[in-house]
């Protein structure tokens, strides 16, 4: 089966230098932050690929580059065999755009409060000129609202009349309005209460089954990822450290960081568990440690880990695992 989304050697560098005058006076060099470093993965049609990581791991930056909200510094994103960066494929890319949509974390910030819900959902239909005629557009909006569990009459209301979970349903309806087949969700349920989160996660899975959608799901919540994902990529400080089918990753984590993360998550099954928490915090991404970025916190680190960046081989980027020292 060929991949629907192919991401190769994706890299994004942000210039975080002080203003020119400060640099001259304080004799400081330019500073760069490598938010995403040589990240590559594939997503098969109809599956859910999840990226987990803590804050600053670069997972949202990857999502933004995949949908085209942020140009990569290097590397390539191909969706349905169309390069998202090659200028020669601009026309094909324009046709593809409607098929790729994003669902954001904050359902309060991702909608224009002065627009009625009907207009919000119809915007992609009008922008891509998919349906002619107001009556037909209105019918389609009603149909979309029904699809996400709202009522066609809700199109007349403004976003403020809805709760967070209902707004996230509207955001999903808007994403589906242009007949999207690939949805990128950047923490789509993190702002919601658990009972509402369950509603939205169930809705996303139902829609995937009915419409054959492909998801890229970004989250810091491992339990949510386990529930949603077919395959999971774990990011740490801008690099993908492990990629594995969801079942394998949670049953047999291989990278020391994945193991640490799974051990650290407070979980309902761990009532009164005594634990030995991992020490240390994520280093500053402007000045990451040389070699494997996880080496200062890793129990298996040796001299090679402190100098040489491990490559992602067979789903895991770790010298210790590759040498059989784990």
């Amino acid at each position: 089966m060929s991949a629907y989304v192919e991401v190769t050697d994706l890299r994004r560098v942000f210039d975080v230098s002080k203003p020119w005058l400060n640099r001259v006076i304080e004799r400081e060099p330019r500073r760069f932050l490598t938010a995403v470093d040589r990240v590559g993965f594939e997503i098969v049609k109809g599956e859910t690929f999840a990226i987990v990581g803590e804050s600053g791991s670069g997972k949202s930056t990857v999502a933004r580059m995949v949908v085209g909200l942020l140009p990569p510094s290097a590397g390539e994103v191909r969706i349905a065999n169309v390069s998202m960066t090659d200028p020669r494929q601009a026309a094909a890319r324009r046709r593809l755009r409607a098929r790729i949509q994003m669902i954001f974390q904050d359902p309060y910030a991702s909608m224009n409060p002065r627009w009625r819900v009907g207009r919000i959902i119809a915007e992609p239909i009008r922008a891509f000129d998919l349906i002619k005629g107001e009556a037909a557009i209105r019918a389609r909006v009603g149909e979309l609202l029904g699809l996400v569990g709202l009522h066609a009459d809700d199109a007349r209301k403004y976003p403020h009349a809805f709760s967070g979970g209902q707004r996230q349903r509207i955001a999903i309806a808007r994403a589906l309005a242009s007949q999207a087949e690939f949805l990128v969700g950047d923490e789509p349920t993190s702002a919601l209460d658990v009972s509402v989160q369950a509603q939205i996660l169930n809705l996303m899975r139902d829609l995937q089954d009915r419409l054959g959608l492909t998801y890229l799901f970004i989250s810091h919540n491992l339990a949510v990822v386990r529930h949603m994902a077919t395959r999971v990529g774990v990011m740490y400080l801008g690099r993908l450290v492990e990629v594995a089918p969801s079942r394998d990753l949670f049953a047999r984590p291989r990278h020391p960081y994945t193991r640490m993360l799974l051990d650290a998550v407070p979980d309902l099954a761990h009532v009164g568990r005594a634990r030995t928490p991992v020490s240390g915090e994520i280093p500053n991404p402007i000045d990451p440690p040389p070699g494997c970025t996880f080496n200062p916190r890793c129990p298996l680190a040796n001299d090679r880990c402190r100098t040489e960046v491990p490559a992602l081989l067979d789903g895991v980027a770790c010298h210790a695992v590759q040498e059989g020292r784990d």
Binding site: S195, A198, Q199, N221, H227, A264, P266, R275
Partner: protein, 326 residues
């Protein structure tokens, strides 16, 4: 049984608004014993934070404690004057809030902030207070405390800042600590460190802790007992193992089922239909009745009181033996 550190009886908090009196907390009762961690959970708007604010006497007008009583070590504190309450806060009740940046003054060195608290509440000399501050920072796991004591809050990472806040809360050796979402702003690996620290300190000092959070995983690991709140009322309170593994109240059952966990494969999460009612529109009878799968006639008219069920107390007519016998 010895006297509980904190005893809350029929606490009612009301906010006077233009639309009338909103009851944010409606006759809530609970105790916390020495060295015990009581987890208070609920979704946003359930009243968990307001309960914490009421205990420390920080309900802002137009809100006010409209009924019930709060006793700290047997002594009523809800009737104290603001000046008297100021002497209780910080000395007898410590506080830890979600965002460590807002609870520290960015313009003062962290050591000065701890010394100020110590000198205000314990009357130590400046030199003794500084020595004690260094001990406190060491106790909460800050490396090189004799050097870090002169750092400013911005020089600390999120996890380290929260440790400083915990040191500050512990400074005057309070009987009770109110921790409102203390780990929500932190990454999971750091979150685990803070939970472990809080548990250890609470055990070592015999401090009672009221841990307010929406994260059931944190509660499952940290708390001894759990109170589940819904629409300003207590739905269920009991030992953590019982509430998490074998909840009784239909809301608690739905809540636990809605949380994805790392250890079980559920194809669908159980979801509670609808959302929590707004405070302006709490239904008569049991507040949960419009969403409850087991609702019957009495639930719509008669408000259930918390009654003992096994080791817990549950506010649900299903468990009212007297009613069933009749």
């Amino acid at each position: 049984m010895t006297e509980p550190v904190l005893s809350v009886r029929d606490l009612t908090v009301a906010f006077a608004t233009r639309r009338g009196l909103l009851t944010a907390i409606d006759r809530v009762s609970f105790d916390i014993g020495r060295g015990e961690i009581l987890g208070v959970v609920g979704e946003s708007g359930a009243g968990k934070s307001v309960t914490g604010s009421a205990v420390i006497g920080l309900i802002d007008p137009p809100g006010r404690v409209a009924g019930g009583e709060i006793r700290l070590g047997g002594e009523r504190i809800d009737t104290l004057s603001p000046a008297e309450m100021r002497r209780v806060r910080g000395k007898r009740i410590g506080m830890i809030f979600q965002d460590p940046l807002t609870s520290l003054d960015p313009l003062f060195r962290v050591g000065d902030q701890i010394v100020e608290t110590l000198r205000t509440h314990t009357g130590l000399s400046a030199r003794a207070a500084r020595a004690r501050a260094i001990d406190l920072l060491a106790e909460v796991g800050i490396p090189a405390p004799e050097r870090r004591i002169d750092g400013y809050p911005h020089e600390f990472s999120g996890g380290m800042r929260q440790r400083v806040v915990i040191a500050l809360a512990l400074a005057a050796e309070p009987e009770l600590i109110i921790a409102d979402e203390p780990t929500t702003a932190l990454d999971v690996s750091v979150q685990a460190q803070i939970i472990t620290l809080l548990k250890r300190l609470c055990r070592d000092h015999g401090t009672a802790v009221m841990l307010v959070t929406h994260d059931m995983g944190v509660i499952a690991e940290a708390a001894d007992r759990v109170a589940v709140m819904y629409a300003g009322r207590l739905a269920e309170i009991g030992p953590v193992a019982s509430v998490v593994r074998d909840p009784h109240h239909p809301y608690a059952v739905g809540l636990m089922g809605a949380i994805p966990t790392l250890s079980q494969d559920a194809d669908r999460l159980s979801q509670i239909p609808g959302a929590m009612p707004r405070l302006t529109a709490i239904p008569p009878g049991c507040a949960f009745n419009p969403r409850c799968p087991k609702v019957f006639a009495r639930c719509r008219v008669d408000r259930p009181e918390p009654l003992p069920v096994g080791p817990s107390r549950v506010a649900c007519h299903l468990y009212d033996k007297a009613a069933r016998a009749a």
